[in-house]
Symmetry: C2
Subunit: 410 residues, 2 copies
């Protein structure tokens, strides 16, 4: 099964735009369309019934024997960031295909229908939206009301969708109300499992996020002629905020994270005191109350520092998502399977967003992680050891078997 | 005299390149050449003997009666930064012309020759060098060995100089060994005088400078999936350095200043922990030993912070100048004149560089400041109240009278 899995992963990674290093597969591009078609071919060869829905989500189905039973769905997304790796998203899709092939061969038809999905889009790399695939399945988006958003070349989402052959009523409804459970296998995209020497991560919650744009305004002045006591130095003010936010986040402890990743100083000249600094603040936590409380604390600390330093401050929220808990019964099941398979595991939060957080609104959802070497993702050097990829597929096979053949979680 | 001064300042400010706000007069441009010619005309009208030297420094001379007496020189520079103000440099030149006109009218010929100079370049705005005017006078530069430096359009300094009609032996020697004293009047370009409610600043020392380029390298990682304890966050590291440097500089007290004016983070993305940050460090002090000691302390603190945070660090020195003391007898003379004229004054350091620091190698040199409103300079909103401009000219007249008519400092 692992040989099959790595072959699929390798072949799939050949579908990539241009000559950038790594894998670039943006929604509705040729590389993306060829990759979905390749997967459809592989699913068909594996004996699955394949279909595309109206936005280009690809399904492979193993019909169940029990009339009217709801579907057990697994999978992930096919799109990537620019110059991404070959595991993010792709691993969950390919593992789903491999798992269904294996289950069919070993156990024949399941009681409940088993489906693997290759969602068309999750990353938000081409258009200013994310989760276009799972969002259309769960009713967060409706492709018929796509709005007028365009990519950076001015091509609209509607136009791109139509050019790829999607966006047509005859392809059938995207929205699904026939799901019994969703299981997503994914690389961790972090270094916790590697650091803790665990093989499997069982996600309890996908974190909520708050993002802010902060501006501190002081006075741009001569670096030589302005004594330290007469400065309104926006760079020093921003630096104090960053140090303070880091210290607070460390005090609060896991799973809280707070990051200042982007900093722009004006006029950004060695011999001029910074007149203004813009920086971003990204805060994540699995607990909504704590996420809100920390965000308020962070903003009030920035305000306090700005006031003390006689800097003007402006703080603009520009992203806010709530934490999404995964299904507890499914997580307990995953934990039991880890114990049976003697796989060292860790219950954890996902600090990144995933399709599972949208599916969780439609059915019980579970997420399983395998380690990412060095925690690296969204990069050509994304890597997971094949033995660890195999661990994940073993977990997925067991979970799908219990759900579709034994009808647990009924 | 003040009406004459403001007329000259206003008319001179009309000579500016393009349509940028403020004044832009870069070395050897048409605007620059027209401004020097305008000044030469005004000097001639005032009855001064005018001449250009080989690099385009303009002199206006009031001959002395005493055979072989060395020259008392005043003035400043004619060039500006892009979109600069109308006072920086120009005020010292124009005040010199006005002072010589006044002295000639009131007292006739001086014993020692009196000259006003409009140095061709001080700012370093066009070519990657500064003090081209006073540097050629004092032997720091020699226009015959100009090297192959070019401006941002690829025009060489030699070519620009020749196009303006300079760079010719027949214009005569730049280097001067006939100077008895140099007095430079300049706007403060800082807010100390305004803040202290003083009308005159008497410069004791022009500070020395050290500039460094610092790079901290950590690991660019996912802002959501990397716990606070597993980060090598270059932005947080740089922020800690900036806060620490500011605190140390404040502890050391005046006249030390330390500035981080330029910051560049990579990849500079809101949801990615900064993998590296470059920042600049500008340190100035009037005492060379303390300048060196603080610079070493600053670098060792950056190193300590980097090591504790497991960040790689690189610190590259790229500018180093020594403090230049002004002549003490001249400064005492200026102090006495302030007392006579009942002008509130302050002995101070100059945190910015000036032509006087080059002239100090050739003869006793003095610098006198008038306040800059809000400490603003290198900006179209540079401003000094006409009454304060007049205070400066009154100081200059008294100093030049003592030096040239009474032959003090002989």
């Amino acid at each position: 099964m692992i040989r099959e899995l790595t072959r699929l992963l390798d072949e799939l990674s050949d579908y990539s735009e241009g000559t950038d290093p790594g894998v670039t597969r943006l929604l509705y591009t040729d590389a993306w369309l060829d990759a979905q078609r390749y997967l459809a071919g592989q699913m068909a060869e594996a004996g699955l019934e394949t279909r595309f829905d109206a936005v280009g989500n690809l399904y492979g189905r193993l019909p169940g024997t029990e009339p009217g039973a709801k579907v057990i769905l697994t999978g992930s997304h096919i799109d990537t960031v620019r110059s991404g790796g070959k595991y993010d998203g792709a691993y969950g899709v390919v593992a789903g295909v491999a798992a269904l092939m294996y289950l069919k061969r070993m156990y024949g038809a399941p009681k409940r229908p088993l489906e693997v999905v290759s969602f068309c889009e999750e990353e938000g790399s081409r258009f200013p939206l994310a989760y276009w695939g799972s969002g259309n399945v769960t009713g967060v988006y409706d492709w018929r009301h796509v709005g007028d958003m365009v990519d950076e070349d001015g091509v609209s989402l509607r136009e791109a969708m139509l050019r790829s052959g999607f966006g047509k009523e005859e392809l059938g409804e995207c929205r699904r109300s026939d799901l019994a459970a969703y299981v997503e296998l994914h690389i961790e995209q972090g270094m916790v499992l590697e650091h803790m020497q665990k093989r499997i991560g069982i996600v309890e919650t996908i974190v909520g996020q708050r993002r802010y744009a902060v501006t501190l305004e002081g006075t741009a002045n001569h670096a030589g002629t302005t004594p330290m006591t007469m400065r309104q130095d926006a760079a020093a003010g921003a630096a104090e905020c960053i140090v303070r936010l880091e210290a607070l986040a460390s005090q609060w402890g896991e799973p809280l994270v707070a990051t200042v990743g982007k900093i722009e100083a004006q006029p950004n000249t060695p011999n001029v005191i910074a007149g203004s600094v813009d920086f971003t603040l990204d805060i994540r936590h699995a607990d909504e109350w704590k996420l809100n409380a920390f965000s308020e604390l962070a903003l009030s600390e920035i305000e306090r520092i700005a006031l003390r330093r006689r800097l003007k401050h402006r703080m603009t929220p520009w992203l806010s998502t709530k934490p999404v808990p995964m299904n507890q019964a499914l997580a307990r099941g995953a934990e039991r399977i880890c114990q049976q398979l003697i796989l060292p595991y860790r219950r954890m939060v996902s600090g990144a967003g995933h399709d599972a957080q949208l599916l969780a609104a439609a059915c019980p959802a579970a997420m399983v992680f395998v380690p990412s070497r060095g925690g690296i993702s969204h990069s050509p050097s994304e890597y997971t050891d094949p033995a660890m990829l195999a661990d994940g597929v073993a977990m997925l096979v067991s979970m799908l078997y219990e759900l579709a053949y034994e009808e647990q979680l009924s």
